[in-house]
Point group: C2
Chain length 188, copies 2
Amino acid sequence: MALDHAILVSLLEKPGSGYELARRFERSIGYFWTATHQQIYRVLGRMESDGLLAVRAVPQEGRPDKKEYSVTGSGRTALADWLHKPIEPESLRHDLAVKIRGAAFDDPAALVREVERHRQAHRDRLEHYLAGELRDFTGPEAPAPPDAGQELQHVVLRGGIAFERMTIAWLDDVLATLERLAATGPAH
Amino acid sequence: MALDHAILVSLLEKPGSGYELARRFERSIGYFWTATHQQIYRVLGRMESDGLLAVRAVPQEGRPDKKEYSVTGSGRTALADWLHKPIEPESLRHDLAVKIRGAAFDDPAALVREVERHRQAHRDRLEHYLAGELRDFTGPEAPAPPDAGQELQHVVLRGGIAFERMTIAWLDDVLATLERLAATGPAH
DNA sequence: CTTGTCTATGCAACGAGTTGCATAGAAGGA
DNA sequence: TCCTTCTATGCAACTCGTTGCATAGACAAG
């Protein structure tokens, strides 16, 4: 049910349409949460009928009208309730780790290219995060002094950066292990 | 659909019942994948009727019979197919990060205890992983020389250890940020 | 002039995952 | 003696999340 809360936070930071939310979920919010537009539209509809959100039709030139959502008082209350309720620390869920263990029953060397592909994807994401950090927080264009909201956004972004760096280092470890296995004794 | 494949890998490492699988998913496999027993029983039933698994009733003393599942030839093929098919690199999905950003619209100081609780949970998990590493891979009781399967299990465990260390360091960063915010200017 | 992409919204169907409940014998502690 | 915990399996109902498809106007490239 955390998609509801992620949407509340995002709309408090800035009201917007379902489409805009979907784009944000590909960017900043997507650092730590993902959602497709279908999911977002469905949840927006439900939250609006529950009175947590208010809609306003915004006509636009040269493109379809958009429905701009914003958080109501009772939406704010719902978010505060959730913030004060403890949640379970979560563990990772990593398909690639399943593949790595599964490689013992197949050819470990065949996994090298897949791992390299993932490593590249994480490198790209790290670059993207670092560019965002420079633009919004540490570069010359960044607002100074930052307010509480920006400080908190920045520490979350630092978490994403740390995650990507850790993952890249681990994938290097995986690659070294796979190469060692290929050198000492081919599988089967 | 990766639960299917996680089950195949686990049953190839060692055949077992649904109950035993559920316990493994709380331990070693749970380093990177979680599943409840209900989910596991349902998937086991489906995979068996699809011919990917074979069942054998094992009578036991003093406790109910168990159904021991093992992987069939076509189960092995299904796993190999998946191993050779590229998968999408996945991103994290972190409720706590949503809470941290949400704290800008509430009281950041109120989040300190929750973050400390998560930090402790990750510390505990790290201890647990390190104990497992010593027991199975780096301690005097560990098998030497290790085979490919053990090498691969170890590198996955090292990934879990790196993840927990990174998370603990990040939560320290979060706590320092929250304390800084509380000191300089109370929220609202 | 057609094809593709972008904005903008949505339905329908399915699969994945969670929660609550139920059964049942054995063992151990209060 | 009762209560809880452990082994062992499973159903039913629900929510969450994904995939495929559909609409529709604007704009740009070929």
